[in-house]
Symmetry: C2
Subunit: 409 residues, 2 copies
């Protein structure tokens, strides 16, 4: 175990306290305070619905307007308008006065279908998923559908969450998880989703996982190949590769691309120089800390990779890994970019803000989210059989963004 933030001190501004402590510090410490209230506090005594409790219902509005509940429904929610103008006016006024809002649940029950989609991610606070989620939510709200979000940090959770989401009967469910689970969980997941689909739901993955459902995908292998080529063109020969879980398809594809391009240039990757892990910052950090620490595998000398020559570059198959790796390098006294080149994959927003700025391949995160909601909301029949039309490709050829973390050498 390598501890992090080695160089970080925490102080308490008021006292000489013991510092930052556990993240959970102070949580739950709920206490009142005596600030005088704002002038605006109680000044708006405007009629609030039915004054007392429950929100106004359709029949309230109907009664108030002196029409039937059916007409009220037609003007308020019905699509095609076929109501006399005076009635229509009355209804709208009544609705306004009562502050009527349709009850979405009742509508869903009556119509037998909601206007909600579900999104499952493994970690919202990861910039990759945050970007995708942003795309999903914005695209959905443009189309007037709401999105429920759930996070599943591990493979077991995933199945639970999916079950929970299915219960809310969304129009569709979008799964953007990074890691693959063990085979039995995978099998159960597939069955659950198939049942969901056979009951009219639509499912789409973001990044293909090899399951028989549509998936929004990107050119992973081509991207990897581009990175590999860039590496050799820029004069690097001895890369360390940081990949994700082996069961994770996208990681495998990127890896294949990198290794392939390298091989074409006659470069064989030292098996000791490839680290398996997960697509998260911590793993990138710890992998490099370990290599740098234990025997100095990175820098030339006894026990170093590539027969003692050491590494000249780090190829992370994911941006946050690359970023974690960079700070690990620094902790080990190695200057990223100067001593060792670094590349990422994804082009998350903060890739420009690390130093040196990260060379990486661009992934249209927001668009990926958008494409997923389009797929889920479309009425196209999906082809259940296996040929064609299962993958939705964004970007045919990847763009690699050259920054300073991989200078020519």
């Amino acid at each position: 175990m390598v501890t992090e933030r080695m160089t970080t001190r925490a102080i308490d501004p008021e006292a000489g306290g013991d510092g930052r402590g556990d993240d959970r510090d102070g949580f739950g410490t709920v206490f009142g305070n005596g600030r005088g209230g704002d002038a605006s506090d109680r000044q708006s005594g405007r009629a609030a619905g039915r004054g007392n409790g429950a929100p106004a219902t359709l029949s309230d509005v109907a009664r108030e307007a002196g029409v039937s509940i059916a007409t009220a429904s037609r003007v308020l929610n019905g699509g095609t308008r076929k109501v006399r103008d005076d009635l229509r006016g009355k209804v709208m006024q009544a609705a306004e006065r009562l502050n009527y809002h349709a009850n979405a649940y009742a509508q869903a029950v009556a119509k037998g279908g909601s206007s909600n989609i579900a999104l499952l991610v493994s970690d919202i606070s990861d910039p990759y998923f945050a970007g995708v989620s942003q795309g999903v939510v914005k695209a959905a709200s443009q189309r007037g559908v709401t999105v429920s979000i759930a996070v599943a940090s591990n493979g077991e959770d995933e199945l639970d969450r999916v079950r929970g989401l299915v219960a809310t009967r969304p129009r569709g469910i979008i799964i953007s998880e990074s890691e693959n689970v063990n085979d039995s969980a995978r099998q159960e997941l597939q069955e659950e989703l198939e049942r969901y689909r056979s009951s009219g739901g639509r499912v789409v993955f973001i990044l293909d996982r090899g399951l028989p459902f549509p998936a929004v995908d990107v050119a992973n292998e081509a991207g990897g190949r581009a990175i590999g080529r860039l590496l050799v063109e820029s004069g690097y020969r001895r890369p360390v590769i940081l990949k994700g879980n082996d069961g994770y398809r996208s990681s495998a594809q990127r890896y294949r691309g990198v290794v392939g391009a390298l091989a074409e240039a006659g470069i064989m990757v030292d098996p000791r120089a490839v680290a398996n892990g997960q697509f998260n910052r911590t793993k990138g950090f710890s992998a490099i800390m370990q290599m740098a620490g234990a025997g100095g595998m990175l820098t030339p000398g006894e026990g170093a990779v590539y027969g003692g020559a050491g590494a000249d570059s780090i190829v992370a198959l994911n941006d946050v890994m690359a970023i974690g790796a960079m700070t690990a390098l620094r902790n080990a006294g190695i200057v990223p970019g100067r001593d060792i080149g670094v590349t990422g994959f994804g082009d998350i927003p903060y890739a420009v803000d690390v130093h040196p700025a990260l060379t990486t391949v661009h992934l249209p995160l927001t668009d990926m989210g958008r494409a997923a909601v389009e797929s889920v909301l479309s009425d196209d029949e999906y082809v259940a059989d296996d040929s064609g039309r299962r993958l939705i490709f964004l970007q045919g050829r990847p763009d690699v963004i050259l920054r300073d973390s991989l200078p020519r050498r």
Copy 2:
């Protein structure tokens, strides 16, 4: 307008294309591919619910089990179990066989209340909001409630989104927006929320906005003061301050703290050295680009702040602004940490990964989200009047995290 990524080139790995182009490139280019399907594609023909279409309903299960629909309901969903074991068994088997999942909407309608909360943020892809959201979603799912999320990038959107969310009749709504809107929108928002509350909903803000609703808040002013003090203790005298929108309470509080501490040490902030903006990376970047560019306000000389002496530090009242500012400094040939000290506010995960690592005050993002969920789900009566118990404070005294971006000088 200052353009960004000035040093960034984009290449196309295959052709000598014109680079990265617009972000929207390639979007919508949906095309099939001919990959052979996986073996797993059609092998699982397991009974899927009622085989054909609609999912099984409660009465389906009841019939299948040979019991009344009420008993079925009791065993499947009812809390307290009071059903004979043999019947209970039959029901569960039937449910299993039919793959029954309760229809959450119908339940919500019947019970007159859902088990869903709504979350409104201004930008999920901002690490601050991502952290908060993560806390909200996890806490909610632990309690078995789902969360619907919406994003409102600006003040007008906010009102729309709130209306949309109210329509879904959530148990509560959590608002974590960073900017204040104009007065009329603010007034409408307040009224909308008051109606929602009077119909039984609970609302809570994350970071107080001065509206008459509960808010999860942190020690903004104390945090600001801590930063101010740290500044003078570390030998800085001429800070540039990057604040948020003036209407934004938390920003104002932090600002007051910083300026107050500075004043105590006899330091007056040059008015030209404070930039108003918004709490986002871009604003931090452009503010510094502008200062560094136009006449070189930052470095000693004609037209520089502090009577020509220039700035020795940048105090951003938000981490992402600080991060944007750091890369802007670099673009201007100024080395952050060495030439000019930098501080942030928030301690987002990637604050450790910029270089030099960011000195900042820690905010318990995840816990803030969790506290909001607890508030919204609790049954405490809220005090509508203005004295006491409106603010929920996490952390009484802020922790400032010392890293390398503000070395002693």
